[in-house]
Symmetry: C2
Subunit: 278 residues, 2 copies
């Protein structure tokens, strides 16, 4: 099944197509309005430390769901089977990617724990809805991501630098973009830095470590958000014998609305840092 065949279809159809293996592509733009999540599956022996790592680094690693040990369901996120409900899974052995798979029925075991983490789609949709253009979305590219010099707070074997994503925002909308994304703490929240990339140890904003380069036009300011690649990098650094994640871009689509818990704001009328309306 092609991506085009699922555009505009509802959650039930999209999930069925993924679950029965008919669709194995990326999920950006599918089942619009539903929360999409990163997925990490790892042995229970490492689950407590991994949850601690995420809880200590909530901006890059916002936990939106956690399963019981050995149970592939995640009822708080919907009628979900973690073994089949992503279009593509990435298998990791000793911290190194060891191939992708369309399902993990043969790899699931009584020892595994699934953790779902919020993703940037949520706040990107809110920025786009406010009329803030995102170049990588408009041009169907992957957002540029960088290994920053800002450290994470470690937990057990999990550590490493915070990975950040870059979006170039028109200068006169930067404050608004920050306020909008701050409404979504479950999706990386407010930017971690706005302005000179060197403050994050990024020498060349045009040369990302992951994703595609974007233009850096005059009149735009670089805004950096904590990125969901951070836990993947920590997972790699921990060199776990075995773990499973989503294949980048191939997310878990949940039942709930992506803005279910976001506090209201006034579109086009954003208060300043002191809460005063312009």
């Amino acid at each position: 099944m092609r991506y085009e065949d699922l555009i505009g279809r509802d959650l039930k159809d999209v999930r069925a197509a993924i679950r029965n293996g008919a669709y194995r592509g990326h999920t950006a733009g599918l089942a619009p309005g539903r929360l999409q999540a990163n997925l990490v599956i790892l042995p229970e022996a490492h689950a407590l430390d991994f949850l601690r790592f995420c809880l200590r680094n909530p901006k890059p690693c916002p936990i939106v769901g956690v399963g019981d040990t050995g149970d592939p369901r995640m009822p708080t996120l919907g009628d979900i089977d973690l073994r089949t409900d992503l279009p593509s899974y990435r298998i990791h052995r000793d911290g190194v990617p060891a191939g992708d798979a369309p399902d993990i029925c043969d790899l699931w075991s009584d020892d595994l724990v699934g953790v779902a983490l919020g993703c940037s789609f949520t706040f990107e949709h809110a920025l786009i809805a406010a009329g803030i253009d995102l170049w990588h979305v408009t041009h169907d590219r992957t957002v540029p991501m960088f290994r920053s010099t800002r450290p994470t707070v470690p937990a057990g074997p999990f550590a490493g630098p915070m990975v950040v994503s870059l979006r170039m925002i028109p200068e006169d909308r930067a404050r608004e973009a920050a306020a909008i994304s701050a409404r979504y703490p479950q999706a990386h929240g407010a930017p971690v830095h706005t302005g000179d990339p060197a403050a994050l140890g990024i020498a060349d904003a045009g040369a990302p470590d992951w994703g595609d380069p974007v233009p850096l036009p005059a009149g735009h300011v670089p805004m950096f958000w904590a990125c969901g690649v951070t836990p993947q990098a920590a997972l790699a650094g921990a060199k776990l014998p075995f773990a499973i994640t989503h294949t980048p871009g191939h997310m878990l689509i949940c039942d709930m609305a992506e803005d279910a818990d976001a506090p209201p704001v006034a579109p086009g009328r954003i208060p300043d840092q002191q809460g005063v309306m312009p």
Copy 2:
């Protein structure tokens, strides 16, 4: 040392007075502006399930910090020693309170994990700052709390009903109170119910299960928030052989500002559910 002696003193003084045992009273209103947190300490064998319980019930159980096993520090919340930095601790054995203690130096062990949970002080301060009077604060009473019929999502041995707290809010400010508290997902967030207490299985809003009754004046609407007693009730129901919590009202005072991550809003100008300004 009396409560009055610490009013208006800074965090350093307050923490020192608590740490050295000079002050053993409640913490409401102390070190204003700093995040205060509920505390649960339990053996590592139950920590993964307890974190799962909290993560599945984020409104009553918003995790703001978690320590390493056996480590009484919690550096993400400040220069904290969990053994001494609460004015009073409650010891639980087999799920039953077994006395309070001014410190837990003799009870700490290499097996324990500390979990800090956000508390309602944070959004109460924001409501009061917006000019919304809270009767129990003005009259120095404990907020009324009720065992509701709304279930929590269980995890391992942890389960039970959601406990809710009641605040009577002037009808014309109810929507504003909801919007303000929604800014603080780490402190119970938006109300879980506004209006008829019977919808939560509460037969008599004047007869709370915990805390003090409040007047139910005409022109005010009952608003119910998820309550931090929920995890304590779940802990009791799980009948753990050993656990430690804060004594009610005797909280962990953290370094960070209580509104550090809250998105901006416009005081007095609250958009409706569709985000449209009045």
